[in-house]
Structure formats: C-alpha cells, structure tokens
C-alpha cells in the first residue's frame, strides 16, 4: 500500500463527502424548523442539475447565468411543494408528513422523467477538465468548486441562524413552535422559508456535482439517501457537524472501495447509518436533544 494511493482515496472521499454534506444540511434545516425529515430533498438535487441543463441547452445561457436561474427554478419548485403538499395537511403528525414527502418525491421524479426523458445528461465543467496534482493524488477543478461552495454555504448558514432575526426565529420554531408562535413568530412562514432554503441548497449541490457525475431524473434517490446519512452522522445539525458527517462518510466509502472491496461501498454507508441510529441517535457529536440546531 503506497502513500500515493491512500492520499488519492482520501482526496476522492473528501470531494464526494462535500456533496453529501451539502445535501445533508438541506435535510437538517427542514428538520430543525419543522421536525420533518424531507425525503424529497434528493429530488431538488436532481432538479438543480436538470434545470441547469435546460437553461444551458434550450435557452443557450452561459454557465454563470444558467446556474442562478436553475437554483431559482428549483427553489420555486420547493416553494410550490410546501404550499401544495405540506401546508394543506389537517393533522401534521410527523408520520403523515414523512409519507407525504416520500409521495412528493415520487411525483417530482415522475414529472421530471416525463419532461426530461430517461436519458442521462452531462453538463460542462465550470472551469475545464485538466486534473490538478496534489502530491501523488489528482483532483479536478470542479472538486475545488465543490469544496469552496460547500464552505461558503456552511458559513452563510451559520451567519443566518445565529446573527439574523429571521434565522433566530427559525431556531425558535425548532425548539418549540407553540412558544415561538406566542411571541409573534409566524411559524408557517418559517416552515415555508425552511423549504425554500433547503431546496435552493439541494439545487446548488445538484448543479455543482452534475459535471462530474452527470445527471438524470433518478439521481436524487441515492444522493438523497447519502445526504440523509450525513445528516444523521452529524446529529441533524445544520452546521459543521453535518459537514464533518458528510466528509467522514465520503472518506469511509472511498477507503472501503479501495482497501476492502468495491462491492461493499454502499453497504458501508448504510451500516454506519444503522449503527448510528441504534447506538447514537443524537449523532456522533450531539450531546443532548436541546443542543440540536
């Protein structure tokens, strides 16, 4: 086993992990604001990638214009989803909501299949495909984009939740929606807002990975599950813990595929998920229920 090889496993794992982290944060934002696990999160990842394709190919927009348009379009989809599927519910028990998000994800996937077809599509990289060497390992410029954008988003999240009124209000809703309502916070608006933020984040994740992984109507399932896994490792925090969770997952997958057997790559992720749910449901770093943010 050479050092070069290990370094490559680590680097590959980190760049995949960053994607998981970004999707995972989307899960935890909605969970923290509403107590729902939004299983349609993966579909927004898919929508981001496919909308970018549409804006690039059909409307012939340049990349820098297509990306914001695609994020806006997916966010709109998230908003409509909350309005039509989540809000009208008479008795919003968690189990009802979870089932609705699963149903919603199937619907979104079906519509995407009708609209974009079943083919896989590729999107050009943001800045070329020439590999960059780091020691004996190589990464692509797109990986740097992924790592950079993930960091920016995590920082922006942190700022929003701790230093803005609206972010603090959303945290208040997560601790106790009734009390938050009593002090004048519009809880329903906060729920809507959480869907908007997380669908936008999912879309960003979908767009920045599409040049590497390609995109199709059904990419959301696996990416969504991996993101969920990252969020569980991070104890459903919308901050750095989920990012670390995603990175751990990515690196373990990559090391598992390289050192043990590539057949077990997905098994590794789901074994971690199950173990954590059994042994440490509060996440790897969580201590008490009330510290979850």
């Amino acid at each position: 086993m050479q050092f070069d090889q290990l370094l490559q496993y680590a680097v590959s794992g980190l760049s995949t992990g960053a994607i998981y982290a970004l999707i995972g944060i989307g899960f935890s934002i909605i969970y923290n604001a509403t107590g729902i696990i939004n299983f349609a999160q993966g579909e927004f990842v898919m929508l981001g990638g496919l909308f970018t394709l549409t804006f690039l190919d059909l409307l012939k927009l340049p990349v820098w214009a297509a990306v914001p348009c695609a994020v806006a379009a997916s966010t709109l989809a998230g908003l409509v989803f909350e309005r039509l599927a989540i809000r009208p519910l008479r008795q919003p028990t968690p189990i009802n909501l979870v089932i609705i998000t699963i149903g919603g994800s199937i619907l979104i996937r079906g519509l995407a299949m009708l609209f974009w077809g079943k083919d896989t599509h590729s999107i050009p990289s943001f800045s070329g495909d020439d590999p960059i060497a780091i020691g004996g390992a190589t990464i692509l410029p797109q990986h740097l984009w992924i790592l950079g954008i993930t960091m920016v988003i995590v920082a922006a999240n942190r700022f929003y939740f701790y230093h803005t009124i609206s972010g603090k209000a959303m945290r208040a809703c997560s601790y106790n929606p009734r009390a938050a309502g009593l002090v004048g916070i519009d809880v329903r608006r906060m729920v809507l807002f959480s869907f908007v933020i997380s669908s936008a984040m999912g879309a960003v994740a979908g767009i920045i990975v599409a040049p590497l992984t390609m995109t199709a109507y059904d990419v959301g399932i696996m990416l969504g599950l991996k993101g969920f896994c990252a969020a569980i490792i991070g104890g459903m925090s919308s901050g750095i813990a989920t990012v670390v969770g995603g990175l751990i997952l990515g690196v373990l997958e990559s090391l598992g595929a390289g050192l043990v057997s590539s057949g077990y790559k997905d098994a590794i992720a789901f074994i971690i998920l199950l173990l954590l749910l059994f042994l440490r449901p509060q996440g790897l770093f969580g201590k008490r229920e009330s510290e979850r943010v």
Binding site: Q2, Q8, T120, S122, T213, M214, I221, L223, A257, S262
Partner: protein, 379 residues
C-alpha cells in the same frame, strides 16, 4: 330436428367461409416490446423497427402474395405482463410466431408458454441462457456477451497484454459480463489481476481506479451501461491512468461519447456493425442490410437506427425468410427458421441449426475506437 340441421348447415357454411377468408388473411406475427418502463431504450426502437419493416414488406406486395400483420403489445419490461401478453397473442390473436420480448428476464418467463403452445419465439434479448441449452421453439437475434468478450480478448492477445484488470457494474448486465470475462480469460492466456465492481448509480469510481493503477494490470476492461462507464472514463482521465481502456458493447452509442466528452478518446469497444455501417468495406456481407436499415430508420424516425432496432429488424426478416420458403403454420415456420443459413442481417450473419439457436459468430462484433468524437474500426 330441422332447426338443428339448419343450424349445423349454417355452422358448416360459416366455417367454410371463415376458412376461405382466413386463407387470404394476413399472416399474423406477434410482437412483445418493452416500450415503456426501465427497458424502454430497448423496446421503443424495437417496436418502431418491427413496424417499419413490416410496412415495407407489405408495400412491396407482402410475402408470396400474403400480407404480414404485426400485433404488438407493450410489456413495460415486466415479466408477468410479458407472460400474460404472450398468452393473449397465442390464444386470442392466433399469431404464428412471436418477435420479442426485449429483456432476458421477460424472455425466460415467456419460454415455458411458447414451448407448451408450440409457437416459434424470436427473442430480442442478449442473455445467453435464452438459447443455451437449446429450446425447440426459441431463437434469438441479439449477440451473446461471450462474443464481445472474445473479441476484446483476441485483441489483447494480439498485443501481448496478458495482465488485465476488470471493473464491472453490479447489475445483471455487469455480472453476466464478469462471468464471461473470468471464464474465457485462460483460453486467451490472460490473467485477471484485479476484479472490481461498482454500483449502477455510483458517481465516483476513483477509488477502484486508484487500486487498479496500483496493480500490475496492462489493460482495463469496463463492463456496464451508461452512465457508469462515462464516469469511469472521466475518473481515469483525472487520475492520469495510462492503461489501454476497453469497454463493453453496452456503451457502443453516440450517447456515451456525448457523456464522456474528451475522456472518451482512445477507448475501444466491441460493437455490432450498425454504428459503423458506412465505414465497412464493400465486401462485408452485412453492408447491404445495414445501409438499408440505417437509411430507412433515419427516414421514418429522424434518428439513427441502433443495435436494438437492428435486433427487431433481424427477427422480422428471419420470420419473413421462413414464410418465403413456404412455411405458414407455426411448426413449419420453426423448422424453416432452424434451417436459416448465412442470412446477413444487422446483428451479424445468422446460421441456425438444431444445436445453435443464437446463430452468430465472433464476426458479429467489430472492435471500434473513439477518435475525434467518432468511431474508427480497429484493424
């Protein structure tokens, strides 16, 4: 009494009338295609082609004065549905032969029915188990994986590359390819130094490729269908992997070049001859059929004819050939199908016999290389 007699006479007359009508009626061929569902990429071009070919045959006056009629159903890639529809074709529509189904799973499910009802079936799926062991009423047109593996190994042997790494997708297509790759290696003096897999939905295969880079391999064979191999091509380029890269016929379409972009350059693929029809030498026995099919499909569907459509083209033409040689009943069609010799179609040159209902040889595949986003035949 008289009433009964009258009824009997009436019945006789109708039967006679019906049978005279029947004699002039078209010959009914059943079609089972997975037009929707996960295998729609197979079923759709197959149905389109079968319809197109039968229309052309009828326009040219039919076969020996009789028209052909296609009764086509959509199985949605579902084996249970395929079985029901096969029964319907046989019992209700009274077809004399069936073309399809599109996938190996469906074909295996339908086989017991056609064997029992004694209706010839020309399957369009690739799985070698469809005709191995030989079943009396079952034929197929798609090339076996084994032939594609043989074509790659032949080339590796010629270039004296004996240490090979394989990376296969963990689904039906990949595991069948993996079996063949392992089974045939010794025959060509090849050792598999690394045997890895990836999931059909995986998005990063650098870990497997890094492992392969660290092994003794002199060439890498990737077995899968889009998009996995395109991701692997990109990953290999990222890692600067210098090994000659071979892929399966599962990606021998323009779609792969489109997905993999620059990373596709130099990759070699065993492929049916459809995609390189215009590059074939004039002496190639399949050239005439290929050019006719590609041009026809272009005219009708504004898209390039592909391998899958080609399987249906072959199946319909094989049945037509049997009818031309005088067969009209299912049993006679079966016997004539088995006597098919040197029929140059789209998938290859078919010669069926009582021991071989797949009918193709290694010449069904050519080795192509991707150069400047297009195919070149490797000599």
């Amino acid at each position: 009494m008289y009433v009964r007699l009258a009824a009997l006479v009436a019945a006789c007359v109708t039967t006679i009338l019906a049978s005279t009508v029947f004699a002039a009626a078209p010959i009914k061929i059943g079609g089972l295609f997975a037009v929707t569902g996960p295998a729609a990429f197979l079923g759709e071009p197959e149905r389109n082609t079968a319809k197109m070919v039968i229309d052309e045959i009828n326009k040219a006056g039919g076969v020996k004065g009789r028209k052909l009629e296609l009764v086509a159903y959509d199985t949605a890639g579902d084996a249970t549905k395929a079985v029901q529809l096969a029964t319907k074709l046989i019992k209700d529509d009274k077809v004399v032969a069936i073309v399809g189904p599109s996938t190996t799973g469906e074909s295996m499910a339908v086989i017991p029915i056609v064997e029992k009802e004694q209706i010839p079936l020309v399957a369009l799926a690739a799985g070698s188990k469809i005709t191995d062991p030989v079943k009396k009423w079952v034929f197929k047109t798609a090339q076996n994986d084994a032939l594609a593996v043989g074509r790659i190994y032949e080339q590796l042997q010629k270039q004296k590359l004996a240490k090979v790494a394989i990376l296969t997708v963990s689904d039906g297509f990949g595991s069948s390819g993996r079996e063949q790759l392992k089974a045939q290696a010794a025959k060509y003096g090849i050792t598999l130094v690394s045997d890895d897999t990836y999931g059909p939905k995986d998005t990063d295969m650098t870990a497997q490729l890094t492992k392969i880079r660290g092994s003794q391999a002199q060439a890498l064979i990737v077995w899968g269908t889009n998009p996995g191999p395109a991701v692997i091509a990109k990953n290999a380029r990222q890692l600067g992997l210098k090994l000659p890269l071979y892929m399966s016929h599962g990606v021998s379409s323009k779609k792969f070049i489109e997905l993999a972009g620059d990373a596709a350059e130099g990759i070699r693929i065993p492929s049916g001859k459809v995609i390189v029809a215009d590059l074939l030498p004039a002496s190639d026995p399949q050239r005439k059929s290929l050019m006719a099919f590609v041009k026809d499909y272009q005219n009708h569907h504004k898209a390039e004819g592909d391998h899958f459509g080609g399987h249906a083209w072959d199946a319909v033409m094989l049945v037509k050939g049997a009818v031309e040689r005088g067969a009209e009943t299912p049993a006679a069609i079966r016997d004539q199908l088995e006597k098919t010799k040197g029929f140059s179609g789209i998938g290859g040159t078919f010669t069926y016999s009582s021991q071989d209902h797949a009918g193709l040889g290694k010449d069904a595949f050519v080795l192509v290389e991707i150069k400047n986003k297009d195919w070149v035949i490797v000599k």
